[in-house]
């Protein structure tokens, strides 16, 4: 089916399209086709805008391009010594797009509503909220959680006076834009919020189109959109008057290797562990033997970067964990040193056990399938036999505690690391599904969670990866083989300059609007 569609595009590629450029008057509106429609609406308390830019609402704090915390609605915040009490002071000059002032009651209302919403917003750890004075609020947590900071950067504040069941369709907020019209399934029209207190974008009107990927690409070809997100297979098609922008991301793909010896977790009632991948030498050999650059070239057609961790290039990432990969000799040496010997077929064996395992990938995901197959070939070169098998997610859930799986994460919140690697989450659904555990690493991560400042927390997150002796990175216990970070691709009108972007999170689309105030139109 997609082959047919692609054939149509090739047909089209032969004809050039003259896009009518605006002449004379300065362009102050944009048309964007950047991805899927947030079907559940624009309510931050149920998850809208968690990647930095709620567009209609503003957040207490924000992260700049280097992930430094900056004030937004808040002028100041502080954390108590025990990490349980967060005090936030807000500005007194902010108005919602309907002209009403934003007060501390709105902040409290927002967090209480979000806590009670059954949604992706997780405020289970928030015990209570106290109003200290007209500008100050105190959040009291059940347990210390330094990553609560990232909740403050993600949750857009909603107005108490204008919040109702229909808020999701008619959001009112203090963000840079206000919603004018939402034609469901089609488009979203927004205009600048006249009361916005921050830097204004030169674009007074934005129209977001919710087109299918094929239609969006055709619309770009017809010169009807200014910015469109594209999949890698269309990225190399040139559109006259438009340029390709590839944004780096932590939208990663890696292979989770079962960490423990085969066994049975009676408490959870699941089979766990794997004889071969529980051997540190195997995990290390795979990590060093895989050629990540080649994976980027062959599988992602160049649109990606090698991945060495779940959080590459984020502030809590330990740079020391990068190493020279694609070294098959070193990989074989590691196996030899651990007592593995090659058999007649060129596959390593130890005590009658073949270095062989099945790698499972979600059958619906073409990229992951290709990665699995490329991984299989690379593993074979270092004498490890990998059989690949596509399954549905529910089938994967049944075997993921005892079988390697191709997975992908990448969040702007380090709590992800905590859930992925802490031993207390072993076997809890997708969290630490490979049963990784290391007391020292647990300790570092607990220290990170209890830290008061993000700088202090980041130090511990880094130590958990590699402290010089141990850690969960490939230098240490290597429970994962991280492979690649995808690049997010956009075709943009050549006059439009979207400036520098943050490292994009897992998930395409809306995050690109975060710095829209800095976008410019250059004739």
């Amino acid at each position: 089916m997609s082959v047919l569609i692609f054939a149509c595009f090739l047909l089209v590629a032969c004809t050039s399209q003259a896009s009518d450029s605006e002449t004379g008057k300065k362009k102050d509106s944009l048309v964007l086709a950047i991805g899927s429609e947030p079907t559940d609406g624009f309510d931050p308390t149920t998850g809208w805008g968690r990647y930095g830019s709620p567009l209609f609402q503003s957040t207490l704090l924000t992260l700049d391009r280097n992930f430094n915390v900056q004030p937004d609605l808040a002028v100041d915040y502080s954390v108590s010594e025990d990490g349980l009490e967060w005090t936030v002071k807000i500005r007194d000059d902010v108005k919602f797009s309907d002209g009403e002032p934003l007060t501390i009651e709105d902040v409290i209302f927002t967090f209480e509503t979000a806590k009670n919403s059954q949604s992706v917003v997780d405020l289970q750890n928030l015990k209570k909220i106290e109003k200290l004075d007209a500008q100050t609020v105190k959040f009291v947590l059940e347990r210390p959680q330094s990553t609560f900071l990232y909740t403050l950067t993600m949750l857009g504040i909603v107005p108490k006076h204008a919040y109702s069941e229909n808020y999701r369709e008619n959001p009112i907020g203090s963000g840079p834009y206000k919603l004018v019209q939402w034609d469901k399934g089609q488009q979203l029209i927004v205009e600048e919020n006249p009361y916005y207190y921050g830097k204004k974008s030169p674009f007074k009107k934005l129209t977001f189109l919710f087109l299918s990927q094929d239609a969006a690409f055709l619309a770009a070809k017809a010169g009807q959109v200014d910015i469109v997100s594209v999949p890698p297979n269309l990225a190399k098609e040139s559109i006259s008057g438009m340029k390709l922008i590839a944004l780096d991301s932590v939208d990663n793909r890696g292979i989770m290797l079962p960490f423990v010896k085969p066994g049975y977790d009676a408490e959870k009632g699941i089979e766990i562990g794997h004889e071969v991948t529980s051997d540190l030498a195997i995990r290390k050999a795979l990590n060093i033997g895989i050629d990540r650059d080649k994976l980027v070239e062959d599988v992602l057609e160049g649109f990606g970067t090698p991945a060495f961790s779940v959080a590459d290039k984020l502030p809590w990432w330990n740079e020391e964990t990068v190493f020279e990969d694609g070294d098959t000799e070193a990989a074989e040496q590691i196996l030899m040193d651990a007592g593995w010997r090659k058999n007649a077929d060129g596959i390593f064996e130890k005590d009658g056990e073949k270095a062989s395992f099945t790698l499972v990938y979600p059958a619906s995901d073409q990229t992951r399938q290709s990665l699995a197959i490329a991984f299989k070939q690379m593993a074979k070169e270092i004498g490890i036999e990998v059989n690949t098998e596509g399954k549905s997610w529910s089938e994967i859930e049944e075997v993921m505690h005892s079988t390697p799986v191709v997975m992908g994460w990448g969040s702007h919140d380090p709590i992800e690391i905590y859930h992925l690697y802490h031993s207390k989450y072993r076997g809890q659904g997708y969290s630490n599904a490979n049963y990784y555990s290391n007391k020292k690493v647990d300790q570092y991560m607990d220290q990170a969670i209890h830290a008061i400042t993000p700088e202090e927390a980041n130090e511990y997150w880094k130590k958990a990866q590699w402290d010089g002796e141990t850690g969960f990175s490939a230098l240490g216990d290597a429970p994962w083989v991280w492979l690649v970070n995808l690049q997010h691709l956009y075709v943009v009108n050549e006059h439009l300059n979207i400036g520098e972007q943050k490292i994009q999170p897992h998930g395409h689309g809306w995050p690109i609007t975060e710095f829209i105030a800095d976008w410019t139109w250059e004739e």
């Binding site: 750890n125 019209q181 034609d183 239609a215 859930e397 859930h419 659904g429």
Partner: protein, 330 residues
């Protein structure tokens, strides 16, 4: 007497419909339960790792997936019998209001293409049937066979490329102009946006009725009384209008009513291609994300829609063709 019969007919059909609806809903539910998509996993996506286990349990409760499948189905059935289709998990909105919102757009689209394909399909069928074996007949026949095996989305994309990209005559997708506020949107705009999706559906919808009509026309033209009429010197359109029209029009109409199912299926594909905001778009979203309430809601609705089509078809046959009343077949 006849009225009584129709009453009985409708009653019987309604009963049949109730059984059919139950079967379809049950079957759909069983199919969704086998779906590899876990609604919570699908809802959380990459956020899976930043959400705590407690929150996931709350979500399971909200999504109603913490109970057994049987219990989930019984819950749904109970709600349904009380006239409540539940709340879509994906849209966080009443299923009924989503269907209302979406159906109008779909209905206009389907109605227009149904009428167009009916008229053209019938005309083509008559032309082919009257000129059996000629080049025109063969051309129309091949056209129908090719179309019958052509997916709607492909036609849609071809139309988009030709009429929107190359010629720039029609907009690319959507139901309204890009960036235009709804009170500025004119009737003309709406029609312009409907042309390509409706054309896609019409092109596809033609083949069934054309082939059927062609066969009917040929049958009629091979009867004694036509030969007799021909001997009297009648021919061409006059002959057809006098003797063929009545014998072929009503069967064609009833076949066309019976094609509501295909129409609905085609609309789903066409709406996807053109980002046309109808029910088709919603059912794809529901299926892809295991949004059970929305999916079942649309299933109920589309079953009703197709059933009404078939009922009208049968009713037409019954009222128009005297022979049906005597239990004969044509």
């Amino acid at each position: 007497m006849q009225l009584l019969n129709i009453g009985k007919f409708i009653l019987l059909r309604t009963l049949k419909f109730a059984i059919l609806l139950f079967a379809v809903v049950l079957f759909s539910f069983i199919l969704v339960s086998f779906s590899p998509v876990d609604p919570i996993q699908s809802y959380l996506g990459a956020e899976m790792m930043v959400v705590s286990e407690e929150q996931k349990e709350q979500l399971a409760e909200y999504f109603g997936v913490d109970e057994s499948k049987t219990q989930q189905f019984l819950n749904w059935l109970n709600m349904f019998l009380h006239g409540d289709l539940g709340t879509s998990l994906l849209y966080r909105q009443e299923v009924l209001s989503i269907i209302q919102e979406r159906f109008l757009a779909s209905f206009m689209l389907m109605a227009i293409s149904w009428i167009i394909s009916g008229i053209f399909g019938y005309a083509l069928g008559v032309i082919a049937g009257m000129n059996e074996g000629s080049w025109m007949d063969r051309a129309i026949k091949s056209y129908c066979f090719i179309l019958a095996s052509t997916p709607a989305f492909w036609i849609g994309i071809l139309l988009l490329i030709v009429f929107s990209m190359w010629l720039g005559l029609f907009p690319i997708g959507l139901g309204t102009p890009i960036g235009m506020l709804s009170d500025e949107v004119t009737w003309l705009d709406q029609i312009k946006h409907m042309v390509l999706p409706a054309l896609t559906l019409s092109i596809i919808g033609v083949s069934n009725i054309t082939l059927h009509t062609r066969q009917k026309v040929m049958d009629v033209f091979n009867t004694e009384f036509i030969r007799f009429a021909r001997a009297k010197g009648e021919e061409g359109f006059r002959l057809f209008a006098r003797h063929g029209l009545r014998n072929t029009l009503f069967p064609a109409i009833s076949v066309h009513f019976a094609s509501f199912g295909e129409l609905f299926g085609g609309a789903i594909l066409a709406e996807q291609v053109f980002s046309y905001p109808g029910l088709g778009q919603a059912i794809v979203q529901a299926g892809m994300n295991s949004d059970v309430p929305l999916l079942l809601g649309i299933v109920v609705f589309s079953t009703l829609f197709v059933f009404i089509g078939n009922l009208l078809a049968d009713l037409l046959y019954y009222l128009i063709d005297v022979r049906m009343k005597n239990g004969e077949t044509i």
